[in-house]
Amino acid sequence: MDPWHFLIVAEQLRDSDLEAGRRSSISRSYYAIYNEIVTSLGDRQVTVPERDAHEKLCRWLAGTGDEALVVLAEELRGLRDDRIVADYHMRADPARFSRLRAERALSQARRMRQAFVSIGADTVAGLVADYLRRTRQMH
């Protein structure tokens, strides 16, 4: 499956009258960009292990030291927390799950993908592989 199809679902849910729909839109936006990067790296033999994969991916991107990837890692961490709140925090203020908030998650995911594509998946995979070699981590 093309992970970016999660963004189509996020777009469909963004305008939902149900808070649950808009929460799910935020969640799908995160998974669209997360899986886009993980899959692209995996296709280039840089496999993010399943255990603590979300945290590891951000750490690896940040560990490259590349300015754009460091920023991308921080944005991804923030969007992941938005997803955690959307998926788990049932008592959170409903105002936090407005249509605009869902749109922000969508736009942010698009911009992150644009940044990732601009750097180039091969380059990112190479930088991450270098980082893993430097830190002697297995992948």
Binding site: D52, H54, E55, R59, A62, G63, E67, V70, V71, E74, E75, R77, G78, L79, R80, D81, D82, I84, V85, Y88, A95, R96, L100, R101, E103, R104, S107, Q108, R111
Partner: protein, 109 residues
């Protein structure tokens, strides 16, 4: 991108919950948190409020951090441009060993 901090922005005092304050104490995060909040004031002309919560990750064991949420008024694309500028400045000013304890998001209004 405006980096002029208005008196209104300068007056914005973050709301920090008890657990977040205790976590900041425990990991000596106050200096970095203060710097990050100043960067939020600098980079977001439409900043309305800042709230800091303690986040316990439900999916990753023993992973706790502070979740900094900024409420920002303005058009969405402009806010996202401000976010890019904020993160670039944050990464230049706050080391990765402290950033691992902080995440940031924006609530647009």
């Amino acid at each position: 991108m405006s980096t002029v901090v208005t008196s209104r922005q300068a007056r914005i005092v973050p709301t920090i919950d008890k657990a977040a304050a205790a976590f900041a104490d425990q990991h000596s995060l106050w200096q970095d948190l203060k710097l990050a909040i100043q960067l939020l004031r600098d980079k977001f002309p439409g900043l309305v409020a800042v709230r800091v919560d303690h986040m316990v990750d439900p999916e990753i064991p023993d992973y706790e951090h502070l979740y900094v949420q900024s409420t920002v008024a303005g058009d969405l694309e402009g806010i996202l441009d401000c976010e890019d500028a904020f993160f670039a400045a944050l990464c230049a000013c706050v080391g990765v060993e402290k950033r691992q304890f902080l995440t940031f998001t924006v609530i647009p209004i």
